[in-house]
């Protein structure tokens, strides 16, 4: 009994526990129902490929929700930034600059959300409902009459980045020294066991090996990178795409920032008790605005990554995505009321919604049932999370 209690408190402390359990159950159900199709690379890759974009959006939504705010405008920001990026690209703007334009626009639209919030004090649900409609008007007016802008219509080659050999050499070396620098600080930290020091040494040797691998075949010759492939191309010969790596990488970076940095602490405090946070010197308005900018940035990045695969933009790109993402974040254990949540949970929640969509199709259940299933699971997740959280 005691042991059971301990496990339950332990589980209750991690917001993602409920989502992980739900994920496992649903995974098992599909795996048993349609083992041949569901447990195939084609099904799993299609789930992960389709969830990378909502998964990246979910990062910003989670940060905002933990700090007590809502962002309904991410789908529209994604639409605007995708359009700006593709429009610039087909008008001969260099590809990196075009991407930068898309990202800056995403940040600006997020900044507008944040500034509106702190200057008016209106709930962010209302503000971003307004900006969701307003931002959507941009692609709707720019792309007239339901047209679709296609990269192929401009008969361009796939954009290739040519990194000069020396730049590539320096960047690779810099990355290696960054690894060394971090390793040195870990090495010096207190309470390091011999085992962890051996692991650390192994990690350094491995990255040195990677360094040689990268540098030896390119002795100062230019390195060509296909821009679209880097963002969302196939990895190797399988059907898995690089967007999955972006999703995992961004989730990891922000998860560390949220749980290990002073900024992360400020985010939790702002959502947990804004007044108390302010009295302890946290600049809560700044935290909120920064989170809206991050959310806008990530929406833009997700949009560009999506364009890298679809190579087109239509005026309704991203519509409805915000609700699917919010549902996934809530399934992942983040509290709507703020102060509690996890990015790992959101990633699991996003994967779960994707798995549900694909799994239902494979079981030959009409695809419209998907929405009903998501709704039911979200409500069940909240009920279960509420129950478990009482034990915290």
């Amino acid at each position: 009994m005691k042991r059971y209690d301990a496990i339950r408190t332990r589980l209750a402390r991690s917001p993602e526990a409920g989502a992980a359990a739900g994920f496992s159950v649903i995974f098992l159900v599909f795996a048993l129902a349609t083992p041949d199709t569901f447990l195939s690379h084609s099904a799993i890759s299609s789930i992960l490929n389709s969830q990378a974009v909502p998964g990246i959006l979910a990062i910003g939504i989670t940060l905002l929700m933990i700090s007590g705010e809502f962002d309904l405008s991410v789908g529209s920001i994604l639409g605007v930034s995708s359009l700006a990026f593709l429009y610039a690209t087909v008008n001969d703007v260099p590809i990196l600059l075009a991407a930068a334009i898309g990202l800056v626009i995403g940040c600006l639209l997020g900044l507008i959300n944040g500034l509106l919030l702190i200057s008016t004090g209106i709930p962010s649900f209302i503000i971003t409902l307004g900006t969701m409609l307003a931002y959507r008007a941009i692609p709707l007016t720019v792309i007239s009459g339901g047209r679709i802008i296609r990269y192929a219509d401009y008969s361009r080659e796939s954009p290739v980045l040519e990194v000069p050999g020396l730049v590539f050499f320096i960047l690779t070396l810099a990355l290696f020294f960054l690894v060394l620098w971090i390793a040195r600080d870990i090495w010096r930290a207190r309470n390091q066991s011999i085992k962890s020091k051996i692991l650390l040494a192994a990690a350094i040797l491995f990255s040195a090996y990677l360094l040689l691998q990268a540098l030896v075949p390119h002795p100062l010759t230019p390195v060509k990178i296909d821009f679209f492939d880097a963002l969302n191309g196939r990895v190797g010969t399988g059907n898995y795409r690089t967007s999955i790596l972006w999703w995992i990488g961004l989730t990891s970076v922000f998860a560390i920032a949220l749980s290990q940095t002073r900024f992360g602490n400020a985010v939790f405090a702002t959502g947990g008790n804004a007044q108390a946070a302010r009295l302890q010197g946290i600049r809560i308005d700044r935290v909120r605005v920064i989170n809206f900018v991050i959310s806008g940035f990530l929406a833009a990045l997700a949009g560009i990554i999506q364009v890298a695969r679809l190579k087109s933009v239509d005026p309704l790109r991203g519509t409805g995505l915000e609700l699917e993402v919010i549902a996934a974040v809530v399934i992942g254990g983040t509290l709507l009321t703020g102060g509690y949540g996890s990015l790992i949970g959101s990633a699991i929640g996003t994967a779960l919604t994707g798995m549900l969509r694909t799994g239902l199709v494979l079981m030959q259940i009409p695809s419209n049932a998907f929405r009903g299933a998501i709704g039911a699971i979200m409500i069940a997740a909240v009920v279960i999370n509420n129950f478990v959280r009482k034990e915290r």
């Binding site: 007044q275 009295l279 010197g281």
Partner: protein
């Protein structure tokens, strides 16, 4: 030496006048009791001092300099530490995260700065233990603690970080008799270290136990400043209840 001086401070909220024409001084190594009925403006006055509500009018001096705190961070940077009446803990966060909120202990990892959670857990437990508060686990969430435990943590935090001024707004309201005695002893200890203490309470016998002076507010205005040696408990009670300054003073 005068540590903190306020001259002719006023504060309005819309058309509500919460404070009007307040002069206020605090010396180092002194315990000042700030007294008044509910709604007299005590909490508002200390929030003016700590930068939560910048004053609508009047000047503030810290040491010899005119100073203006626009946020609680500014006041904390000067060594002014406060236990607010409404406690100022975040229930969903752990004890140690609350303890170090806004001034986390960090470690460097290459170019990155991360929180040193282990150091904060031991640091918070040690600081709490130092003043006789023993917690099971510093990484436990504050939501699970009782009102008295929460108040103890807020007080411990202020004592730990307050280097020049310590402000306590009704700190003993949720405490047991034993815990209250401890808080009174911390006040005396802080005074011995040369810290200026502002102590808000409704318990007049506590005032006589630890305070050197009393400043009394009524309806947002100052009734007067009195050395504790010059007044009786009845005098203070009469003034707090808004009956004006007794004739013999």
């Amino acid at each position: 030496m005068v540590l903190l001086e306020l001259k002719n401070i006023g504060r309005r909220f819309g058309h509500i006048v919460a404070l009007k024409g307040i002069d206020f001084t605090l010396e180092d190594g002194e315990v000042l009791a700030l007294l008044g009925d509910n709604g007299a403006g005590k909490s508002t006055l200390i929030k003016v001092i700590t930068g939560v509500y910048p004053p609508s009018e009047g000047d503030m001096y810290f040491g010899d300099e005119v100073i203006r705190f626009d946020s609680p961070q500014d006041a904390r940077d000067q060594g002014i530490e406060t236990v607010y009446q409404d406690l100022a803990l975040v229930p969903s966060m752990s004890i140690s995260r609350n303890f170090y909120l806004g001034r986390e202990l960090v470690k460097r990892l290459g170019p990155f700065t991360l929180c040193d959670q282990a150091a904060m857990d031991t640091g918070a437990a040690a600081a709490l233990g130092e003043i006789g508060i023993h917690i099971r686990n510093a990484s436990e969430s504050v939501a699970r603690l009782s009102g008295g435990e929460r108040q103890s943590i807020a007080i411990a935090r202020a004592l730990h970080f307050g280097s020049r001024v310590l402000i306590l707004d009704e700190p003993t309201s949720a405490l047991s008799v034993g815990e209250t005695r401890k808080v009174l002893s911390y006040i005396t200890a802080a005074k011995k270290k040369g810290i200026g203490v502002v102590f808000i309470t409704h318990n007049i016998s506590h005032v006589f136990e630890v305070a050197d002076r009393a400043t009394i507010l009524s309806h947002g205005e100052k009734v007067g400043d009195f050395s504790i040696c010059d007044v009786t408990q009845d005098d203070i009670a009469a003034m707090v209840m808004g009956q004006g300054i007794p004739e013999h003073l």
